[in-house]
Amino acid sequence: MYVAVKGGETAIKNAHKLLDKTRRGDLQIPELSVPQVSEQLPLAVARVMTEGSIYDPELAALAIKQSAGDLVEAIFLLRAYRTTLSRFYSSEPIDTTKMQVERRISATFKDLPGGQLLGSTFDYTHRLLDFTLLADGRTPAELEKISSSEEQDEEHMPRVLQMLEREKLMVEEADDLTTPADITQEAPSYPCNRSARLQALVRGDEGFLLALGYSTQRGYGRNHPFAGEIRTGEVDVSITPDELGFSVDIGAIQVTECEMINGFSKLEDNDIKFTRGYGLAFGQNERKTLSMALIDRALQAEKYDEDRVSPAQQEEFILSHCDNVEAAGFVSHLKLPHYVDFQSELELLRRLRKEQAEQQNTSGEQA
C-alpha cells in the first residue's frame, strides 16, 4: 500500500519543465508539428487510436508528440481525454463489405473475385535500412510515380469467408440481434460473451496479444489458422439521431479487418466445418488484427468442446490483463511511496532474524 506524501512541489515542477525540455530536444532541430506526426507516422497514430479507443488522428498525433513517442503513454493520454467527453450516439454497425479498399489480400485463395490488392505494405520489402530517408527522402516527383500498367475496373469484392459459408464449409456468422456488451459502462464478468471479448481485445495491448497469438501457433492452443482475408480501407460511419429519425453519415474512418480461417471442427449438430476468428482495428493495423483474430478463435474453446489448457484460451486471464493502461498503471504504481509498508516489512524481517539468532544461541548453550 502506498501513502500520501507532502512536499516536493518545486522539484516536481522542475521535473516537468525538464520533461518539456527533453521532449523538445536540440533547439537547432526544427520542432515536430502535430500534422507531421499524423501524416508521417500514420501507423503509430493507428495504434494509439485503437488502444486509446478514440478515432481522431489529430488527438492521437498530439498524444504521441506530448508523450515523446511513448505509445503506451499516448494511449493513456487519449483514454484520459476520452473521459471528458460525453457519448452522444452509438453508430450503425460499419459495413466492411462496402469498404473502399486500400489493401486486400488472402492467403487462402490465389485468385479471388475482385483480386488481391497489396496497397501500401511492408511486406516484400527487404528490411534494409533506406539511407535515402536519412538524406533528403524522396522528391515529390518520385512519390508521384506509381507505374500505371493499365486502367483497372473496380471490381466487386465479396468476402472470402462468405464464399465458404455458401458452400457450407464455414461456421456461419449470423446476427443474433442482441445489443452488444459495453465494457466501458459495465466491467465484464467471466465467462463473458463474445461482444465484450472483442471490445476488450480491440483495446488490448498489441504486444500482449501478439505474443499470445504467437503462442497458439507454437502449439499452445493450436487452432490451425489461415489468413482468409485481410482488408484495410475506409468505411462510412452513420448514426440515427432521435431528433431526425433517419440515419446520416458523419464521415468515413479507416479500419483494418482480419478474418481468420481456422481448423475444422465437429459441431453440435455433427456437421464438420471450418471455424473462424475475427480482428478489427482503427487505421492500418494488420499485426494487431491478425493477433486479435487468433485469440478470438482460441477463446471460443467452449463452443467447440476444446479443453482450455493453454494461456491463449484463458478468457479471464487475457481480458483482465490485456489493457495496457490498466497494466501500466498498476505496474507503475510501484514507483509511488511505499515507505510505511516497506518499513513494516523491514521491521518484521529484522525481528524474525533476531528471534532466530536468539533461539540458536539458547539451543547452543543447552548442547
Binding site: 452509438s90 479498399v101 475475427y278
Partner: protein
C-alpha cells in the same frame, strides 16, 4: 458536407451564408460516438471504440431547423453544415446551394475516390504458384 474538408466547405459557402441571421438552438458541441462493428463483418454487433463527433442545431429566420453531425472536433465545420442544412430546406435557396456547394463537393469527393482507387489498383497482384523442386 460531413465528408468534405471544413476549409473547402466554408470557402465555398461563405458568400451565401454570411448575410443570413441564424438563431443558435444548440451551439456546436464535441462528444463521442460509439463505433460498432460486426463479428466476422456480417454477424452480431460489438463495440469497437469511440470516435469524436461535433453536432449543432440552428434555426433560420424562415423557421427551418438545420442539424449537423460531423466526425472530428471542428465546431466551425459543424455550425456551417447546420446553417446550410437549414437553408437547403428552403425552396428559395435550395437549387442555388445545391448547384454551387453540394454538387461541387460531391464531385470533388467522387474524383478523390476514383484517384485513390486507381492508385491502389496499380498494386493488384497476380500470384502464380510454382512447383517446388522437392522430388
Amino acid at each position: 458536407m460531413a465528408k468534405s474538408s471544413a476549409e473547402t466547405l466554408i470557402a465555398l459557402s461563405d458568400k451565401y451564408v454570411n448575410s443570413h441571421p441564424f438563431e443558435t438552438i444548440r451551439a456546436a458541441e464535441v462528444g463521442l460516438t460509439q463505433v460498432r462493428g460486426r463479428m466476422g463483418g456480417t454477424g452480431s454487433q460489438f463495440n469497437v471504440g469511440d470516435m469524436t463527433i461535433t453536432r449543432c442545431v440552428v434555426r433560420s429566420p424562415e423557421g427551418h431547423y438545420g442539424h449537423s453531425y460531423i466526425m472530428g472536433r471542428n465546431k466551425d465545420h459543424a455550425t456551417r453544415a447546420a446553417t446550410l442544412d437549414a437553408m437547403l430546406q428552403d425552396q428559395i435557396h435550395q437549387s442555388l446551394l445545391m448547384e454551387k456547394i453540394i454538387q461541387p463537393l460531391a464531385q470533388d469527393l467522387a474524383i478523390k475516390k476514383v484517384q485513390k482507387a486507381d492508385t491502389v489498383a496499380q498494386t493488384k497482384v497476380n500470384f502464380f504458384t510454382l512447383v517446388r523442386g522437392e522430388d
